[in-house]
């Protein structure tokens, strides 16, 4: 059962359906090439974000706190509608087209700013939560159709969904680490690590805006103008 949950998670992450969000996640995680530890840390935060999402869903659904149909339909509908605009906004923050201005300049505000900075660990965790809850047809079928019956059968509201969540983040995490570490080596060899970091961030911002525009088109604009 544990292996099955793990396998369903791997299948979810390698299926072509969430490819765009995986590219965004890989780009996001691997951009912190200045320190390989940061790449790993960001990747772990992203994976924990995914785990938390599925774990909460598991607790709600296995505990029958909400109807599976209602929750599944609501998530598939609303999260995908919000995904595009949110990704565009994050991309704008990464490109510094938008900056976070909070009232006051105390130490607490600065600390808060640093925490919710879209480049920080909390940002990666929230990204994991957002991507996990933005179900595409394949991930919805695998989570609600394969993982959930397994979790219900075992009455496992925490362990199986958490293992599934871990597995959905794992291939992205491994790929991002490989990419981040190899980019770090190349940059170090040429002594251009800061310039590399600067460009990696810009590229990630552009990737987010492109993917966000794609989702906004597919889920919002295209159905509205009837071009779908």
């Amino acid at each position: 059962m544990l292996l099955s949950a793990f396998w369903f998670g791997i299948l979810t992450s390698i299926s072509p359906c969430p490819l765009a969000t995986n590219v965004a996640a890989i780009s996001y995680i691997s951009k912190g090439i200045q320190s390989p530890y940061r790449v790993v840390g960001t990747g772990l935060a992203y994976t924990i974000g995914r785990m938390l999402s599925y774990l909460v869903l598991g607790v709600i659904l296995v505990g029958s706190l909400l109807s599976t149909v209602t929750l599944s339909v609501t998530l598939q509908k609303y999260m995908n509608l919000l995904l595009g605009p949110i990704l565009i906004l994050v991309g704008m923050f990464l490109l510094e087209l938008l900056t976070l201005r909070l009232p006051g300049d105390g130490a607490l505000i600065e600390k808060l700013k640093a925490k919710i900075n879209p480049q920080g660990y909390l940002g990666a965790l929230l990204l994991g939560v957002l991507f996990a809850l933005s179900f595409c047809p394949t991930s919805a079928a695998l989570f609600f159709g394969s993982l959930l019956p397994l979790a219900l059968e075992a009455q496992s509201s925490i362990v199986l969904p958490a293992i599934y969540g871990l597995a959905t983040g794992l291939p992205v995490l491994v790929f991002a680490i490989l990419l981040g570490v190899s980019a770090h080596r190349v940059a170090k060899a040429y002594n251009h690590i800061l310039a590399f970091e600067h460009w990696a961030r810009k590229i990630t911002g552009v990737v987010f805006i492109l993917i966000g525009t794609y989702y906004a088109w597919v889920n919002i604009f295209s159905p509205f103008i009837g071009g779908n």
């Binding site: 072509p16 704008m92 394949t138 597919v218």
Partner: protein, 162 residues
């Protein structure tokens, strides 16, 4: 200024317009439905009153696997049930459940995710239906997919006629 300001304004406009449309679709649903361009596939395929309906449910967001399964479903009907389809005893309905007028199917068939449903009707009344969720497990195996769908259709027809 320039370029940076223009890009910022443009992107913020897309974001605001996106949020506005989402809000409009959710809260101004009745107005939106009246003016909406209706998908041809959903309107030209009325539910068959006497016979077997095969529903393929999809959403605005298509995926490679979904498109492939749609093709498998169409092929199964053409190759194995050509006579029934030709004689008007069987009908394939491709239904976008993200359209407001089709959302009742989600409740009707408890569609937790996109799936295929087969349903028999007599005198305009549905007599039996089955949701074929196993299609997702067979999405990479056309032979097994077609066999599964064929067997389920034959079973529900056998039950009806038997």
């Amino acid at each position: 200024m320039n370029a940076k300001k223009i890009v910022r304004t443009l992107l913020l406009s897309i974001v605001c317009l996106g949020f506005a449309l989402v809000g409009y679709q959710q809260f101004g649903a009745s107005v939106f439905n009246a003016s909406e361009n209706i998908d041809v596939t959903t309107t030209v395929s009325p539910k068959l009153k006497d016979g077997l309906n095969v529903y393929y449910f999809y959403g605005n967001q298509r995926c490679t696997t979904c498109v492939r399964m749609e093709k498998f479903t169409q092929k199964t009907l053409i190759e194995n049930f050509f006579k029934e389809v030709r004689d008007g005893e069987m009908q394939l309905n491709l239904v976008n459940v993200d359209l407001a007028e089709n959302q009742h199917y989600i409740e009707d068939y408890e569609l937790i995710f996109r799936s295929v449903v087969i349903s028999t009707s007599k005198n305009g009344v549905e007599t039996e239906w089955r949701r074929l969720d196993k299609i997702w497990e067979l999405a990479n195996n056309e032979v097994a997919f077609q066999q599964y769908l064929t067997e389920e259709i034959e079973a529900i027809l056998g039950q009806t006629h038997g």
